[in-house]
């Protein structure tokens, strides 16, 4: 009788241990499946921001040294068109002037 109870207890314990181990395994799998993608996206963002700032401040860094392709006529024309558009927008930008403060000066008289 006592040995039957002991066997039953052992069986229940084994089942519980197995269930616990399965739970841990699933959690571990989930962890490995999500964290690398998060890391990847972070590293992508990091590399993007690095390249953007690198391009902004250091002339020698970035694409100019990494890959040397060729510039097609259509690409050159497209870049030139974009530059012209930007130039135009800048030349027509309404800039602040000293007259912005005239009304304050008038109030002092």
């Amino acid at each position: 009788m006592a040995s039957r109870v002991a066997k039953l207890t052992l069986a229940v314990a084994l089942v519980l241990v197995a269930a616990y181990a399965a739970g841990c395994g699933r959690r571990a799998t989930m962890g490995t499946s999500t964290s690398p993608s998060a890391e990847t996206s972070q590293s992508v963002v990091a590399s993007q921001s690095t390249s953007a700032s690198g391009a902004a401040t250091t002339p020698s860094a970035g694409a100019s040294t990494s890959s040397r392709g060729t510039l097609s006529a259509s690409d050159a024309a497209a870049i030139d068109a974009q530059l012209s558009a930007i130039e135009n927008q800048l030349n027509t930008t309404d800039m602040p002037s000293d007259s912005d403060f005239d009304s304050i000066g008038d109030g002092l008289q």
Binding site: S51, A52, A55, A56, T57, T58, P59, S60, G62, A63, S64, S66, S67, R68, G69, T70, L71, S72, A73, D75, A76, I79, D80, Q82, L83, I86, E87, Q89, L90, N91, T93, D94, M95, P96, S97, D98, D100, F101, S103, I104, G105, D106, G107, L108
Partner: protein, 186 residues
Amino acid sequence: MISRKNILATGVAAAIVATVAIPSAALALPGVRLGVARSAASTGTVVQALRQRVATALENRVVLALQRRKARFDAAAGRIDQRITKVSGLADKVAATGGDVSAARASLAQARSYLSQAQSTESQAVAAFKAVPSATNKRQAFISARETGHQAGQQLRQARSSLLAAIKQLRTAVAQARASSSSGGQ
């Protein structure tokens, strides 16, 4: 005998004495003095109220002028900032094809620096204008604030000039990259 001449002279003298003495005596009376003081106090209150009104009007003028200025300044600064980013992206593209964009990038860095300076100076100008209504010498405070605002505008113009220079330099880089691509392909 009292002559008619003497009577007339006495009458004139009495009139003169009355003209001078009565108002002086009236002023010497405490009640009359209080009335004068009261009227002086009310004049002071009116003057103070007028001063307050003028100060409030000036404060309102400053607020309105700064609102308009902020809209104008921020729009121009925002546009320059966006175009710096765009030209920088185009410089990356040209660099990827082997073009030398170092000059353009230096001008872009200069444009960013001027833009940052302009924004900082503009903040100082805003603070200086806000202080004008409470300044002892308002005229001088205004002149000084306007000078700071002028500097901010100048720095913003320099940012735009540097960006335009970067565009020119990038065009040259594109032309050179195109020329070398063509000669390499033949």
